[in-house]
């Protein structure tokens, strides 16, 4: 039933066909609540980064903005994050087919993610060493805030991912970890997308 149809129901009449209503809501949701919650959460994160981006664009137009030089290392990091996203997707696809590949995928995903975060830290260090400190210019400030916030979201996801990996190591069945792996891969793809937008924003200016 479409949302519009739902919202135009006349509930004082609808008990006339309560049989269909009972069938439609048998008390077992078709979508896991965790998935619904994750999608809401992704929406919140999207709003968070969107607002930072709006602030970025507004602030950019003021006169004291001095863009930072682009660091080639960021391309390498982007590649790492892309790989980790791939690794998660691969794990997800092999979940019910190949246990060894699942373990490998879990490990690869974690390693590439850690590589991404470490890579970002190295870029931070290189940038500060070159004199691009956080309060030097609003462009620098935004760079650190955006990359830092993104890395924090990655780390939050990594915690769930590693927990899942440990469960698999301890012999959890694919069904027990299916939801975690699916949700993690969705989250990773989303954060890759966010990173691409942030990266484009940082390089474009």
């Amino acid at each position: 039933m479409s949302l519009l149809q739902t919202l135009t129901e006349t509930p004082w009449n609808s008990h006339a066909d309560e049989a269909s209503a009972v069938a439609a809501h048998a008390g077992t949701p078709s979508v896991a609540p965790q998935r619904v919650a994750l999608w809401f959460f992704l929406g919140i994160v999207a709003v968070l980064f969107a607002l930072f981006s709006v602030a970025y664009v507004v602030r950019m137009d003021l006169q004291d903005w001095r863009p930072m030089p682009e660091s080639p290392a960021l391309w390498v990091n982007t590649g790492m994050l892309f790989l980790s996203s791939l690794a998660l997707q691969w794990t997800r696809m092999n979940l019910h087919r190949n246990a060894a590949r699942v373990r490998a995928g879990l490990l690869l995903g974690a390693l590439t993610t850690i590589a991404f975060v470490v890579g970002q830290l190295l870029v931070w260090r290189a940038m500060s060493a070159d004199g691009y400190i956080v309060y030097g210019n609003p462009a620098n400030s935004f760079f650190y805030v955006l990359t830092g916030l993104h890395a924090l979201h990655i780390l939050g996801g990594l915690w769930v991912w590693i927990r899942t990996g440990v469960k698999v190591r301890l012999g959890a069945s694919p069904d027990e970890v299916r939801l975690s792996i699916e949700l993690c891969s969705t989250y990773w793809h989303f954060l890759l997308l966010v990173w691409l937008v942030v990266f484009a924003l940082l390089s474009y200016t």
Binding site: E9, G27, P29, F40, V134
Partner: protein
């Protein structure tokens, strides 16, 4: 956890027995709701005392030596912040949201009970951080609840060192707490409704809480973003919001930032925040009115659409708080237009409330008195909002007492009326006991008349041009002495209203232990929470089987039915009819 919370059979639920797991580290939504409620009311009482102190200074300037200007501005700030965020938001969503959602949609609990518990403890942490700012050097921030930079982080404002930092940290923690709770509320409403509980059969309370939570989830990030950026400006010396300034003789290292950018971000959160408080209030009051008028809520669909429409529109009206902020004045056209559009669905809600009374059979119970008191105060506060929303009319009135009077009517008194209505209405369900009706009525009359005595004349000080947030009015040519005398009277009324709230506290505490047993459904209400097998509902809410829902939540006074209410979970064939009235269904289609 999921399958436990939604499961039809409660067998898998563990029943906590020790005091600690039952009342402290509880994952039961009802206990968490009470924890939220008790914390919010306690911190709200602190804010009430702060407002009393402010009023003492305003009514009797030069009298109280313990209130100096920095104290005064700290009271103003903390009063506003606590009331808006830590009391109203927390009590409506963390308190009533938590209590009513699972009970009204027929679930055993929230879908993520552990996250729900965590939400409360983070909320408590944010409250403690907030209160800690009273005890640090320089005291809490005195920047006004809007925390506008640059002044919020500069020396001329009280609490510009530690106070503001703790404030920002507390807000960030609160936002995390809210997000954890909010994800729970929306997921539970979408995924854990019992059989037959279609969206359009949900009570309006759930609708209001649902839309308000969605607003909160997407609006609080704006506050988070502005808090993070302001904390960077304060602690790391960045210039997100900070232009080059000379602060009390000292040239600071900031340059180029935009204070108005902060205001845009703040109000992008701040306006939806108004509806984060108002929409649950709209929902709760609808249910109270319908129950005690023994009549279905008039125009249920319109009420739902209005809630959704108001929620959507609330994201595109924010700059009506900024007509005189120095932003591009051409924005005024757009925001005045969108703001006044919002008046249409809001007015419809008011019409439908009074039309619910029309041809009803009105029981003047205590919750009903508060609910109708709400209609009166909300009409007043809503109409004065039209003055301020219309950009030209706002010019002389903004930043005067008119604004103070307006938002206290619409966002202070009105939601508080609903809170009291809701507390009295659901108290028998929450505690199993009835409150003392006489004390409840005294509480209503004193609060209703008292608050109107405070805020009605305040509008006129605003027309006169008396500025808000003034420690003392001092000497001017255009403010007559009668205005000062009026201020003294307002203060007396305010102190009276503040003291009267003790009656409420006494009533609640006394009734908790000594109130008459209330029974499961003392108001003869239809919605699910009144149909629980136990009162107060036990862990898991529904006993062995979840209820099945056969109709909407407003089946009052159906022609031919023996009783004037038909609960949502009574099968149609079990509805008792008057002799010779024919089967139930024919009368309602």
């Amino acid at each position: 956890m999921t399958h436990i919370a939604i499961a039809d059979q409660p067998a898998e639920m563990h029943h906590p027995h020790s005091f600690v797991t039952k009342y402290i580290w509880s994952q039961d939504h009802k206990v968490i709701a009470i924890q939220y409620g008790a914390t919010a009311i306690s911190v709200g009482l602190i804010a009430l005392v702060l407002s009393g102190l402010m009023r003492l200074q305003l009514g009797f300037p030069d009298t109280f030596s313990f209130i100096d200007p920095s104290d005064y501005y700290q009271y103003v700030t903390m009063h506003g912040m606590i009331m808006v965020i830590y009391l109203l938001t927390a009590l409506f969503l963390g308190g009533f949201g938590n209590y009513l959602i699972p009970l009204q949609i027929g679930a055993r609990d929230m879908v993520f009970p552990f996250l729900n518990m965590l939400s409360y403890w983070f909320y408590l942490l944010s409250v403690l951080i907030l209160l800690a700012s009273f005890f640090v050097g320089g005291g809490p921030t005195g920047a006004g609840w809007t925390l506008y930079p640059p002044q919020a982080i500069l020396r001329g404002t009280p609490g510009a060192d530690m106070g503001i930092v703790l404030m920002l940290v507390s807000l960030a923690v609160f936002i995390i707490a809210f997000t954890m709770g909010g994800l729970n509320y929306v997921t539970t409403i979408l995924q854990a409704r019992t059989r037959g509980m279609t969206l359009m059969r949900m009570p309006l309370s759930v609708w209001g809480i649902f839309v308000a939570t969605v607003l909160g989830l997407f609006a609080f990030p704006a506050l988070f973003v502005s808090a993070v950026m302001m904390a960077f400006d304060k602690l790391l010396g960045t210039s997100f919001f900070m232009p080059a300034v000379v602060s009390i003789g000292e040239t600071l290292d900031y340059s180029g930032g935009s204070p108005v950018l902060f205001q845009h971000l703040f109000w992008f959160f701040g306006h939806p925040e108004v509806y984060i408080v108002a929409l649950p209030a709209f929902g709760l009051v609808s249910d109270v009115l319908s129950t005690h008028a023994r009549k279905n809520i008039f125009g249920y669909r319109m009420m739902v659409w209005a809630i959704v429409a108001i929620g959507g529109l609330s994201f595109i009206v924010w700059a009506h708080h900024m007509y005189v902020s120095g932003m591009n004045p051409y924005f005024g056209f757009f925001f005045a237009f969108t703001t006044l559009i919002i008046a249409v669905p809001t007015a419809l809600k008011v019409y439908n409330w009074v039309l619910t009374l029309w041809q009803g059979n009105i029981r003047l119970t205590v919750p009903m008195l508060f609910a109708m008191g709400f209609i009166f105060t909300f009409v007043h506060g809503g109409l004065t909002g039209i003055f301020l929303g219309n950009v030209t009319v706002d010019l002389p009135l903004s930043d005067t007492y008119f604004v103070v009077a307006h938002f206290h009517m619409v966002m202070g008194v009105s939601p508080v009326m609903v809170l009291f209505a809701a507390i009295y209405h659901w108290f028998p369900k929450i505690t199993g006991r009835m409150f003392n009706v006489t004390l409840g009525k005294i509480h209503f009359w004193a609060t209703f008349l008292g608050t109107y005595a405070i805020y009605l004349p305040m509008h006129y000080l605003g027309f006169l041009g008396v500025p808000r947030r003034y420690y003392a009015i001092g000497n001017t040519d255009f403010i007559p002495d009668s205005a000062t005398a009026l201020n003294a009277n307002i203060t007396i009324a305010a102190i009276f209203v503040g003291v009267v709230q003790l009656i409420f506290i006494v009533n609640i505490l006394w009734s908790l232990f000594k109130g008459k047993p209330a029974g499961g459904n003392p108001w003869d209400a239809t919605s699910l929470e009144w149909q629980t097998p136990e009162t107060p509902p036990g862990h898991g809410n529904w006993g062995p089987r979840l209820p099945t829902v056969y109709r909407w939540a407003y089946e009052y006074s159906v022609p031919g039915a023996k009783q004037d209410f038909v609960p949502q979970n009574v099968p149609p064939e079990d509805v008792e009819m008057e002799p010779g009235a024919g089967p139930y269904r024919e009368h309602t289609v």
